[in-house]
Amino acid sequence: MTTSSFSDPRLVSDLAARISSLGVKDVQLMEVCGTHTVSLARHGVKSLLPSGIRVVSGPGCPVCVTSDSDLNLAFQAARTEGATVATFGDMMKVPVGGISLLDLRARGADVKTVYSPFDVLSLPSRGTTVFFGVGFETTSPGVAALLREACRRGVRDLCLISCFKLIPPALRAILSAGDTKIDGLILPGHVSTIIGTRPYEFLADEFDVPGVITGFEPVDLMMAIYALLKMIKDNKAALVNAYTRSVRPEGNQEALKLLGEYFEPADAEWRGLGRIPKSGLALRPEHSDYDAARRLRLVRTQLAEPSGCRCADVIRGAALPTECPLFSKKCTPENPVGPCMVSSEGACAAYYDYG
């Protein structure tokens, strides 16, 4: 297949007909990845599904799952004399207690947007550059490469707030909690390209939930939905890799090796899911010189999430964005209350923009 055939309208309508003819009803699927959320919305894929099939968003928007207490570390860094904070675009706009990094910048803090971790090395800095790193297994190997380069060049004025997270432990936490009905999982394409297929085997083995790893084009998504519904109908639970043009069972070993040289799994705080064991990445002890919390003496504090905001429910698939009382009323992309409305990959923003 050529790239364009992954958005071939005839294939999509053929798959839509097959999905309808399965006659499966009262099913809830979860798309785990934020890029899938956007692609589903942008192509209007949900409008092609029969009424009994609901697709909810999961914990795969890195901005959305970053907890307020992690954000607060970045705020402290931004307020530190002689520090420049660098982060990805959408993180700039997430409010904590009504204030965002963008607001701090308008008030004089040195906060810069970067597109890629390596931009940090060429950034003009007031002294110490603090990289506020969020993201999943797709983003973190790039930061490990940045650290390797910083070590090689002997860069001393760089440090990191590591809020990197791992997808499989979050899925385990959601399924273990059991308060969200999930009949099948649309699994991320980019993350799986790094980690491979094996880390998802527990989904079917332990929880009896089918999962399909897929790409981001409309045909990819419709194929994944069809494959999930077929398994549900046949009462089967398996892990299917439908993104073989990018994902190998063993993943990207080189990226994983590099990641392991600089980071190790650690407990992490997720918005909506709370503290999940070994679901985040912390710097390995031998690289703690790069730890911003240590370098700048940042203090972790627990913060209450904004009242009325249901981001926490949206992230675990327990609510659709439209079921939040603040959605498109008090909470809009211009004045977001919660992060799911901030991030372009957030479920609330996708519903607002494309719904």
Binding site: V12, A16, H43, P333
Partner: protein, 334 residues
């Protein structure tokens, strides 16, 4: 909102909110409209179009466009969207101390040649110099006037159910050309801006089909997505468009896919959106193509409800809402 953020300048919803909250209430007069960079004024028995725009391009030269050319084409195209024949332009410069006179000369030369190409004269101007570091090199502000053609009224209010929506060329090229020329993404490809005057394309059309052309808009900041929303809001109609019908250059599409951006929100500087009486649709398309707009295409229709909304049939047959640009377009982060 207690401070200005970059997003207030991006041409999307926040720009509109800023205009409404800060300016509209204070300036309040019957000429001031939501499309605040232009006005049509009656002076004696003539209708005069008056527009103004500030140009702050970074970098100041990209393939197919320069700050000087843009500052003329932008204002000329704005006058055309009033249904006017562009006539006279003013040009003011804000420069940093240390700015090379040679480059200023190049900007002036680009402006002169652009002005000549669209038959306008630059008749007045001003220069101000600020301390080094107080402006990003040089900014140019141009204003323009022109006379509105008889039997022409192309306000966004005039779109009516049944009308056809046409774009004169492929969308998003200028925005993507600038993004790539900034070099922040390390993309080796080169995309040429569509920056150009539309005088030769639009004036003959207005002269020939005047009353059949209901609205004209240039989808600059905020892209075609935002422009369609403006027309829907002003005319209290719904614009129903077909994604497959919207011409997008494959290289623009590929760059947007890679960066996680939507070409519908990328700026155009040489494209017009035209809302036209359905009876004139095919003639207008033929006339456009004859005058070199080879990619001109019908992209949808005006329907009555839901009012103020833009709905799109996606290229795979799904249906979705197209919102206004919000914030600054940024690439995805994972």
């Amino acid at each position: 909102m207690d401070r200005i953020s970059l997003e207030h300048g991006a041409g999307g919803k926040l720009s509109h909110d800023l205009f409404t909250r800060v300016f509209a209430s204070k300036y309040g007069n019957r000429h001031l409209s939501r499309a605040a960079d232009k006005a049509v004024l009656r002076i004696g028995n003539r209708r005069i179009a008056f527009t103004t725009d500030a140009f702050i391009m970074s970098p100041r030269k990209v393939p197919g466009c320069s700050l000087g050319a843009l500052s003329i084409h932008g204002t000329v195209n704005d006058l055309l969207t009033c249904g006017a024949k562009p006539m006279y332009v003013s040009a003011s410069f804000v420069m940093e101390e240390g700015f090379p006179v040679k480059e200023l000369g190049e900007i002036a030369e680009d402006m002169a040649s652009a002005a000549k190409g669209c038959e306008v004269e630059i008749v007045t101007g001003d220069t101000k110099v600020v301390e080094r570091g107080k402006a990003d090199g040089a900014f140019v502000v141009t204003s323009g006037i022109g006379e509105v053609l008889s039997r022409v009224d192309v306000s966004g209010r005039n779109a009516r159910p049944g009308d056809s929506v046409i774009v004169t060329g492929s969308v998003g090229r200028h925005g993507v050309a600038v993004l790539i020329a900034r070099g922040e993404f390390g993309l080796a490809t080169e995309i040429k801006s569509d920056c150009s005057s539309l005088t030769g394309l639009i004036l003959p059309l207005l002269r020939k089909y005047g009353p059949m052309i209901h609205s004209l808009r240039d989808p600059t900041r905020g892209g075609i997505g935002t422009t369609l929303n403006e027309i829907a809001l002003e005319s209290k109609t719904c614009l129903r468009v077909e994604e497959a019908g919207i011409p997008i250059d494959p290289s623009v599409k590929a760059a947007c896919d890679l960066l996680g951006m939507d070409p519908l929100y990328m700026a155009c500087e040489g494209v017009m959106a035209i809302v036209v009486d359905p009876r004139a649709e095919s003639q207008v398309l033929r006339a456009l193509r004859k005058r070199g707009a080879k990619e001109a295409a019908p992209i949808g229709r005006v329907i009555s409800i839901p009012k103020g909304r833009v709905l799109m049939t996606t290229s795979v047959g799904g249906i979705r809402h197209v919102g206004m640009l919000r914030g600054v377009s940024l690439p995805r982060i994972c």
